[in-house]
């Protein structure tokens, strides 16, 4: 290091204040623990207004539980239980970003408890007396972990597959679909609305 001589060394306390990230191997987990029952209570108080008492999602707010066996359906429901590969992500994200609008206001014990409750709601643990802690955290695996694989692109044609067709590429062309939402200017009461969402 020290090429330019710019900046200063961070203090231990400074790094501790900001270094909150958690990894699948448990790196970054703080000391602490919490039970499903504790989690249920905290969740009802601080999370349910958006996510619903059982993580079912209020209005368009995110659904956090359920959706198992929907991933190859027409309308996949991607939740912690149905989709997320690692439990560490649940801890890390709730700890850094939730409750929405009051980020980083939860104690480690509270986050452990909420995470335990989310495991319970997602049928990953079935014992309602289950306590999640730094110690048993990495023993738990989410059901969909094995279903992620590395990006295999390019998965469509390249010039190596031949020059793209320039003329007479199809016999005939017909319109097969039209825009679902014709009025996109959000200026009237009667605006149409479409399906789907952005993430």
């Amino acid at each position: 290091g020290e090429k330019f001589g710019i900046g200063r060394e961070a203090t231990k306390d400074e790094v501790a204040a900001w270094d909150i990230d958690v990894r699948p191997d448990g790196t970054g987990l703080p000391d602490g623990s919490g039970t499903v029952a504790d989690g249920e209570e905290i969740f009802a108080e601080r999370c349910a207004v958006c996510h619903g008492d059982f993580g079912e999602g209020v209005d368009r707010w995110p659904v956090l539980a359920g959706g198992q066996d929907t991933l190859s359906s027409d309308r996949p429901v991607k939740t912690i239980g149905s989709y997320w590969p690692y439990l560490s992500t649940v801890y890390d994200y709730i700890n850094r970003a939730m409750p929405f609008g009051e980020a980083q206001s939860l104690t480690p014990d509270e986050v452990y408890a909420i995470t335990a409750y989310l495991l319970y709601m997602n049928d990953v643990v079935t014992d309602d007396e289950f306590e999640l802690s730094k110690e048993n955290f990495t023993d738990i695996h989410l059901p969909n972990e094995e279903n992620f694989f590395e990006d295999p692109r390019p998965d469509t044609a390249t010039l190596k597959d031949g020059e793209p067709c320039m003329s007479g590429c199809k016999e005939k062309v017909e319109i097969t679909m039209r825009a679902r939402v014709l009025d996109v200017t959000p200026d009237t009461e009667d605006d149409e609305s479409g399906a789907g969402s952005i993430d």
Binding site: I6, W18, P85, R96, G101, V184, S193, I198
Partner: protein, 401 residues
């Protein structure tokens, strides 16, 4: 005649009143140079704005708005119109209270102030930033009627920034360093795992966009630029970079920004934004306003893997193609402007554009994408867009056989 009042003279004369009658601005003084210390567009351009679609998200605070591509030209997106995507609203960071920390697998964990960062060598590069979810609404078929909404989660900006490698070298990388975790100072505490190789290759810690300070909604005072890769990785309000030996698999690279295939399995780390193009004019929000005759078709093309070497345009839904004219600078991982001028005979058209990048990857049809990925991907939709021009000049978002 010289004594006749102006209105009478104009009435007697033959021609366009816009020429024959004097306008206020031909005669009377306008605002002086002290009136607009920081300028703004003409009042006649009031409809040139970012737009959001209320029903897309639960709340505009974690949502997106869209660049009005159909009202722009050239390759630069003006700062006021660069689409916004944030997960906890616009963080209004005081640069005097902002720090960048580098921690983890380094020889010395460091803290930089903004003034410190200004002392590192800088680079200037034009890059597009495309949200991985751009065109995501269209996976299942034509949805939104306007390129602002189908393709507007992109902007193209000249950044000034410090190559990330200088900051990492200043801290000193440990030999087992392989991954980085950039983290934002916003209330979403945005994080993504970035492979070290990319960081050392071309990532910038950017502090200026198009010459001036980053806008708050684009990460003021600093954001990470990850050229060619999905926009979510360009962490805004950057306050910390941790160096590690494994990826973090955080929320935005597991729950989000992974591509779900038809069989229920999901791709991860699909970072590059593949070759893509869209015709911005004509398009549903920008119909043809003249009768038949010479007309200008224009659009944008880009690739996260390099530059654009060719764009073809079809007027008949992909039966026949002609090379378009690429005009203006051709930079790596930057938007390219293309034009195709032709004599419109007034009959209906099915417009498409197909871009090819410097890696030889050809922009696929939407059906080709669906054949390999299904319709549940949400992200990374770079399929060919079709616009149906009707004989009156009106344009609609369609799909064709």
């Amino acid at each position: 005649l010289a004594a006749a009042p102006l209105a009478a003279r104009a009435a007697a004369a033959e021609g366009d009143p816009a020429i024959l009658e004097k306008k206020d601005w031909n005669q009377y003084l306008g605002d002086g140079v002290d009136a607009r210390p920081y300028g703004h567009p003409s009042e006649f351009e009031a409809d040139v704005v970012r737009r959001n679609v209320a029903w897309l998200t639960a709340d505009p605070v974690s949502s997106v708005n869209f660049t009005p591509l159909h009202q722009l030209d050239g390759i630069i997106t003006p700062n006021g119109l660069c689409f916004e995507r944030h997960h906890a609203g616009i963080a209004e960071v005081d640069p005097a209270e902002h720090r960048l920390m580098i921690n983890g697998l380094v020889d010395r964990e460091l803290v930089f102030t903004m003034q410190d960062l200004m002392r590192f060598p800088r680079e200037n590069r034009v890059y597009f930033l495309e949200c991985a979810a751009n065109s995501g609404m269209e996976w299942r078929g034509a949805q939104l009627n306007g390129c602002q909404f189908t393709h507007g989660m992109i902007h193209n900006v000249m950044y000034t920034g410090v190559p990330l490698k200088y900051l990492l070298e200043e801290a000193g990388l440990k030999t087992n360093a392989k991954w980085l975790l950039p983290e934002g100072a916003d209330a979403a505490g945005m994080t993504r795992s970035v492979p070290l190789q990319k960081a050392l290759d071309d990532c910038l810690v950017a502090f200026k966009m198009n010459g001036e300070a980053l806008r708050p909604e684009q990460g003021y005072p600093i954001r990470l630029a990850v050229p060619g890769w999905e926009g979510n990785m360009w962490v805004k309000w950057l306050r910390r970079i941790e160096v590690g030996d494994e990826p973090w698999h955080h929320r935005e690279e597991t729950s989000k920004y992974t591509d779900l295939m038809a069989n229920g399995k999901a791709r991860r780390f699909t970072w590059e934004m593949d070759v893509k193009s869209v015709i911005t004019n004509p398009s549903p929000q920008a119909p043809i306003l003249h009768d038949k005759g010479f007309t200008v078709l224009t659009g944008l093309a880009w690739s996260g893997r390099g530059s654009i070497t060719r764009v073809d345009v079809s007027l008949d839904g992909g039966r026949n193609w002609r090379p378009a004219r690429i005009d203006g600078p051709s930079f790596d991982k930057s938007a390219h402007r293309f034009y195709y001028e032709f004599d419109w005979d007034g009959s209906p058209l099915l417009l498409q554009s197909r871009a090819i990048d410097s890696e030889g990857i050809v922009q696929p049809t939407k059906d080709a994408l669906r054949a390999v990925r299904g319709t549940n991907s949400i992200y990374h939709n770079n399929g060919i867009q079709t616009w149906h021009v009707k004989s009156g000049g009106e344009v609609e978002n369609v799909e064709v056989s």
